[in-house]
Amino acid sequence: MTVTTSGKAGVRAIGSPVRKADGPALLTGRGRFLDDYSLPGTRHAVVVRSELAHARIVDVDVRAAAASPGVVLVLTGEEAAAHAGPIPHFIEPAARGGRHADVRCLATGKVVYAGEPVAAVVAGTRREAEAAAALVRVEYERLPHVLDADAALEQDAPRLYEEWPDNVILHNHYGTGDVDAALAGADLVVSDTIRISRTTTAPIEPRGYLASWDDLDGTLTVYGSLQNPHQLRWMLATSLGLDETAIRVITARVGGSFGLKMQGHPEETLVCLLSKLTGAPVKWIEDRRECFMAGAREQVHRFTIGAMRDGRIVAVRDRIVANTGAVSAQAGWAMPNMSATTLASGYTVPNVRAELHVVVTNKPPLNAARGFGKDSAHFVMERMVDLVARGLGADPAEVRRKNFIPPDRFPYRTATGLNIDSGDYPGLLDKALRVLDYDALRLRQAELRAAGRHLGIGLAFELTPESADGPGSFVSGFDVTTVRMTMTGGVTVYTGVTSPGGGNDTGIAQIVSDELGVPLSWITVVQGDTERCPSGFGNFSGRSMVVGGGSAALAARDVRAKLAVVGARMLDVPVDEVKVADGRLRATGDGRSVPVPEVAAAVLTRAFAIANDVEPVLEATRAYKPGNIDHVPDERGRIQPYPTYSNCLHAAVVEVDPETGVTKLVDFVMAHDCGVIINPALVEGQAHGAIVMGLGAALSERLTYDADGRLTSDRFKTYLMPRAGDLPTIRLEHQVTPSPFTMYGNKGAGEAGVGGAQAAVANAVEDALAPFGVTVREVPLSPPAVLALIDEARTR
């Protein structure tokens, strides 16, 4: 892929809105996605899934399926278990003080959710495989099931994992301070409950894998729509009992992921095993209904917040019950941790206590999802702040201003231990209010209200810890990049980070362009291939520009240093009197210059002449570790796993129709600060996507199940994502507060929006319906839910 640039000569690439390198390929239908890969003799797999939420498997009868036309193999859980072990967890719960459960590629013994893989069929075509899959007969002995997390906490609840004493995968406490004393001394104490419904990420491209086992040399090549090729290689080596070095994982272009395609899914091991057992390449493409099974979030918060008359918040207590569904090896179960530790967000609340129960139920597993639990923390925190403002009769903007961490107190350690690098939150608030024309809008609201119309304004602050590091896990806070220059000056960047479609490859190319002093068009970025790229960790937690970009910068500087030595000799000036820009190495004194390709050729072909005593490699591999990560517990046991904390202030304006409950989004503003911006177009694209994801969760998206635990919202006509017609023009404002702990002062960007948008809309709906006195206690605020709110307020 070639990066094209709109940038002019002499203009720094960093900071300019360079278009995505793969834009032309995508727009002209030439993007190569997983389903576009085909190997000779490829066979097709279909997964047979449990129809029941909880049942013992009595018998799997595959005879009819095996005799069906074109069928090569029908694999049951028992047979799979003879060839593949449990799938290692992306984040092992037991290592975090939680409980372990074995997860296999096909269920053995019993099923714990409707949709769990119980058998697999391989056939010559997808159609033959689907026809045969319908013939697999599974006999079950039904077990009682539980879908609700509170119900699963009951003593006599059905238990998913018999070796566990209950259904709790993790129970923990977070926070410091004396919450009880602070609440006792508070002027205002508000307690309430908030329910966040289960949603999903629904990327445009579902998951898919193509595995090819080579029987002659005992190697496995896996193509996949995935985010973390190196972690997957380790995982497959473990579950399949192979050497890591015998496995190559290649990431196809990814059509969106939002965390869904982080590894740990049963089908990853399964498809590889099917290839091994059939001796043929095997492809599996997830269908849309399967994709809808992946949960993104589902929590209940029972909170108490205390504030003084002047608006100062003194304490927050939150009891969180998170429904993680059945256990999977994916990272989803760990998300609610962040819901707890991100409290009390960017506010100076000295006393915080969060108690967390992460509960397993017979719903399908949660999968990692953009926001990674932080979204729920902000939703709840911002609801709490609004309730304080309401209780005090204060302006919600001013209550936020009163409690923000002041710009001069960074780095700031929060009650739960996060060490926030930098920020100017009042600055964000000012920006958002100015763009909104807040005072005029409040007047307009009063006018409309007098005329019987219900306009509402909602604010929400959002803090996004990014670029996480988990000691001893593959959630890594650093990454690695190789920069290699050819004899003719062409540059290939091999990086350990991957792009799920957000375009960080373009951002990395911009960094290399500036650091190396060559045009963007000379640079090719290679990602997602365990054989070509250095060992890295792929994409998660807004890390790719921080650590992918940082390591690319270091490697590019090493290469440039070598060019400078030889180029200076060619120009006959001291090495500190040259600079490289626009593909030429220039003497700073008299401006004479030599093209970079000539210098590169000199390094590589005149190693015993002008480049004598210079090690003739135009290649460097470097790792970048940002600052501010600290795993040594402080005196109160708190650790600090994030280098950067992006932040933003959302403002939503809605109009609610109290006769139908329909909420119309009238305006949306986000003032955003992710430090120094490498590429504003990429940042804005991410922000738009995250905001819309939050708006969907706020107003319309919800996974629904019937009483038997079967998914009933498995199409886009039953799982309602927002469309363009539902959205106002989203207005973005940038503020730049550089991080002192990263290479360029940049912070992670990509997750901010999901939680803040939910909260801003919820606050706006409550504000719109203030004449009725409603209190928002759940999302999505679908029209029926809004009417129910009004009814409830009327009957109170």
Binding site: R126, R127, E130, A131, A134, R289, E659, T660, G661, V662, L699, S700, T704, T712, S713, F716, K717, T718, L720, M721, P722, R723, A724, G725, D726, S782, P783, P784, L787
Partner: protein, 321 residues
């Protein structure tokens, strides 16, 4: 993916269609635009041995039938005609300077797509309500280009808009089979959720609408958001006597027809609104309930959309006069 092989026919006329249906062995299905049928077959909800595709049968178009066309043989009311198969196409209707003569019949071919309704200027005068429905169909150009009026009628999805629009208009559905043609009033055609009076072997050839005489009917559609199925629709056709004929869609398994008093004191009048609530509530024995909205919600919003459709109709009438 459709896993079972099936025979496929695309007859060149209606005669070919009914012949193919009567000759079919096993389960035969009629394919209109396929916007519902193809996904249903893909998901294994519908399994067919024979698919009869209407796309080449010439059943598309909107015409005004003044009488005497070849299609217009003796048609028994809800019975079988003399055995002659009607041709869904009719000679071009007479639309004199935009006005339609009283008593004429507008014939909408079964495979007329939403896009056709929108692009055919005659729909402005001949089928203004269908035009409004077509303009609001979600799913984008794909659905509007492929989805047919007849397909929506035959699918009889409680959440779709065409059924209630046909009931509001007092449409008659022309069903053809090898045995002949019969007409069924829209009010009798929709017998339940996803169920109609259409018999196996019958194809819907055309829909006959009384030619509009008054102003454009009022119409309201309530959805949860842009991607939602309609949750409640109301079409209001003012009668010559001033009474308001309102057909509610998506609120019950089948379209609900109510007659409302005109709002003498305006649509905001609480007494009139109470009347609407009362009438609608009494008619709505069993509200429709699905994943998107339960029956209670539909019961709540049914009178609201009725009021809004009436307000819209009155506004249209005002605009005309």
């Amino acid at each position: 993916m459709i896993t079972k092989n099936f025979a496929y026919h695309a007859p060149a006329d209606l005669h070919g269609v009914v012949t193919a249906l009567s000759a079919a062995s096993g389960t035969a299905v009629v394919l209109g635009g396929g916007t519902m049928l193809v996904p249903d077959m893909t998901h294994g909800k519908t399994v067919a041995d024979v698919v009869v595709d209407l796309s080449r049968a010439g059943l598309s178009g909107i015409t005004l039938d003044g009488g005497g066309g070849p299609h217009d043989g003796p048609v028994a009311d809800d019975g079988v005609s003399d055995g002659r198969v009607a041709d869904g196409r009719v000679a071009d209707g007479r639309v004199a300077d935009g006005r339609v003569a009283d008593g004429g019949v507008v014939v909408v071919g079964a495979t007329t797509t939403y896009a056709h309704v929108l692009s055919d200027p005659r729909s402005r005068t001949l089928a203004p309500l269908l035009r409004r429905v077509a303009g609001g169909v979600t799913g984008g150009p794909q659905i509007r280009n492929k989805g047919t009026i007849g397909g929506s009628a035959c699918y009889a999805n409680p959440s779709s808009e065409v059924p209630a629009a046909l009931v509001a208009l007092g449409a008659r559905l022309r069903l053809a089979s090898a045995g002949g043609t019969r007409e069924v009033a829209a009010g009798d055609f929709f017998t339940g959720a996803f169920a109609t009076a259409r018999r196996p072997g019958e194809v819907l050839a055309a829909i006959a609408l009384p030619a509009p005489t008054g102003p454009c009917p009022g119409y309201t559609k309530l959805k949860l958001n842009e991607s939602s199925w309609p949750i409640a629709t109301a079409a209001c056709v003012p009668g010559p006597d001033g009474a308001l004929r309102v057909a509610l869609g998506a609120v019950a398994a089948t379209p609900l027809l109510v007659t409302l008093d005109p709002p003498e004191a305006g649509v905001a009048d609480p007494a009139w609104r109470a009347h609407v609530r009362e009438v609608v509530d009494a008619a709505l024995a069993e509200p429709w309930s699905d994943v998107l909205a339960d029956g209670d919600y539909r019961r709540r919003v049914a009178p609201v959309v009725a009021v809004r459709a009436v307000a819209d109709a009155l506004q249209q009438a005002e605009g005309e006069s």
